[in-house]
């Protein structure tokens, strides 16, 4: 653990530089370049809006806010998390030369990849706030919670990447497994349906244990539901426990595999 923290401190300058480089790499070579950071999520959001308001004829306002505000405030954090779910797991695989060709602390790869995706998230979030204003939202005390949820989401996703990237580097099966669970997680975590309206004990417990639900609901609590994180202490505590477990597991895996990764990559 200390070693990971030390590496991050020593390489702090490189981490920020490499995050910029990673961002440039993602949008390089396409004529529209940067615009893709917006085009892809916009299409997804429009398709869901169409399906739910026109197709299923649901899409009722939530807590006085239009349905599209409710949808976007939950799906924007998910875009980042789903990016990290697969991209974070592939972090080491996409920078093999940092591992096998030069001396570079492997743990920081997850961090700069996560940071690069987080920049995109911040841009999309700015757009979300704009849409929230258009939908009749105003800044209020609840907005103060937003940085908290952003940090929690960043830490959670980075820890996931620290855990998954070495496993993914060693096992192709693991990386395929990760790619196939994205869609199930999306539909099971109450991102497209309101987890508050669930009326089934087992499902409720599953949602409380689910960190993705906690984070997307957290964003919605800020914008739409107007709830404080301490109003549901059970969910907050469970999330912190899950997060701590994730970090502990990530550190353990990292220590175990760090020296082996260059040998197998």
């Amino acid at each position: 653990m200390m070693e990971i923290v030390r590496d991050h401190w020593h390489y702090r300058r490189q981490i920020f530089k490499l995050a910029n480089t990673d961002l440039a790499k993602t949008y390089r070579g396409a004529a529209l370049g940067w615009a893709w950071a917006f085009i892809k999520p916009t299409i997804t959001v429009l398709v869901f809006l169409f399906a739910f308001t026109v197709g299923f004829r649901s899409g009722q306002p939530v807590n006085g806010y239009p349905y599209y505000v409710w949808l976007i405030t939950g799906i924007v954090p998910w875009f980042y998390m789903s990016d990290m779910l697969t991209g974070g797991a592939e972090a080491i695989r996409s920078y093999p030369y940092l591992v096998t060709k030069m001396k570079f602390p492997v743990s920081t790869i997850s961090t700069f990849v996560s940071l690069s995706k987080f920049y995109v998230h911040i841009l999309l979030l700015a757009l979300t706030v704009l849409i929230y204003f258009i939908g009749g939202g105003r800044l209020d005390l609840y907005s103060l919670q937003l940085p908290l949820y952003m940090i929690l989401m960043f830490v959670f996703s980075t820890a996931w990447s620290l855990l998954a990237a070495p496993l993914s580097a060693i096992s192709k099966d693991f990386s395929s497994l990760v790619k196939s669970v994205g869609t199930p997680i999306f539909w099971l975590s109450g991102i497209m349906w309101n987890p508050d309206t669930v009326d089934n004990k087992a499902v409720e417990i599953f949602l409380i244990l689910n960190p993705f639900t906690f984070l997307t609901s957290g964003y919605r609590d800020v914008f739409v539901n107007k709830r404080w994180f301490w109003e549901d202490p059970a969910a907050s505590i469970v999330f912190l426990v899950v997060l701590a477990l994730m970090v502990a597991l990530a550190v353990r895996t990292h220590n175990r595999l760090r020296r082996e990764i260059p040998d197998v990559l």
């Binding site: 490189q14 480089t21 390089r28 591992v99 060709k101 001396k103 060693i170 020296r259 082996e260």
Partner: protein
């Protein structure tokens, strides 16, 4: 065939030290390196969760000890698989010893497989910056080296083209130019002098000679050609099957190696 997976990891790598007065650039103390071989990738994956998965340890280096003084130029000889590249990788800090201790003093610049180690999405010039940033240099520092590197690599207008459009010779030239231009204190060269055409090889040799002439730079060399080695180095280490067989003056080491191959 199962062996202990808890081998002691004793390693002190301090390439960031700016000023170092120690006499040795590289020290190996009873270093062994074993690669864990599993029956297949499934077993390797399971080994993450259990230490009881059967595996076989393949030793690339066994009980290697040597000390290389600052400013020495040393050549490593050996057949394929003798463990030369593993030693260089451990000096570079890319691979980790299974047992023993390695001490490296000074900024290491490695020429391991010259054509690799760049990001093919970026142009040559961007890769120079990427390399420098990874090493922790500021953009100004890199800017000062940029012209030297561009000039040495002699890639003309290709320097601003993405690396995926490069031939392997062009990549090697850029790799060599980067490695020799960043003021290395320990220069590790793995079969690198045979890149590019005759003219570029000559340029490389001249540059390496210039670096060796600076008395604080340590050069470590892997080559199959005893001729090239005798030209650059003063000392030779002959390896076979992971063991050091001979360590001494370059002429004797070359003779020993030639003799070993002759058998």
């Amino acid at each position: 065939m199962c062996c202990n997976a808890d081998a002691t990891h004793n390693q002190t790598l301090t390439p960031d030290t700016a000023i170092d007065t120690s006499e040795y650039a590289v020290q190996f103390r009873n270093v062994s390196k074993a690669y864990k071989l599993y029956r297949d990738d499934k077993h390797r994956f399971l080994s993450i969760f259990s230490r009881r998965i059967p595996h076989h340890l393949a030793y690339a280096n066994q009980d290697i000890s040597f000390s290389i003084k600052r400013g020495e130029a040393v050549s490593f000889f050996g057949r394929n698989g003798a463990g030369k590249s593993t030693i260089l990788k451990m000096i570079t800090g890319v691979a980790f010893p299974t047992e023993g201790e390695i001490i490296v003093n000074g900024r290491v610049s490695a020429l391991l497989e010259l054509s690799a180690g760049f990001d093919s999405h970026f142009t040559g010039r961007e890769n120079i910056y990427l390399r420098g940033r990874i090493l922790g240099m500021t953009d100004q520092e890199i800017g000062r080296l940029e012209d030297t590197i561009v000039e040495f690599a002699a890639l003309d207008e290709y320097i601003d083209q993405p690396l995926r459009t490069y031939s392997s010779g062009m990549r090697a030239r850029l790799g060599f130019a980067c490695a020799v231009s960043i003021d290395p204190e320990v220069l590790v060269i793995d079969e690198a002098l045979s890149v590019g055409d005759k003219a570029f090889q000559k340029k490389c040799s001249a540059k390496v000679r210039e670096i060796i002439a600076q008395d604080h730079v340590t050069v470590l060399f892997v080559t199959h050609s005893t001729g090239i080695a005798q030209e650059f180095c003063t000392r030779g280490i002959v390896l076979d099957k992971g063991h050091v067989l001979f360590d001494g003056p370059i002429a004797e080491a070359s003779a020993f190696y030639e003799n070993m191959l002759g058998k």
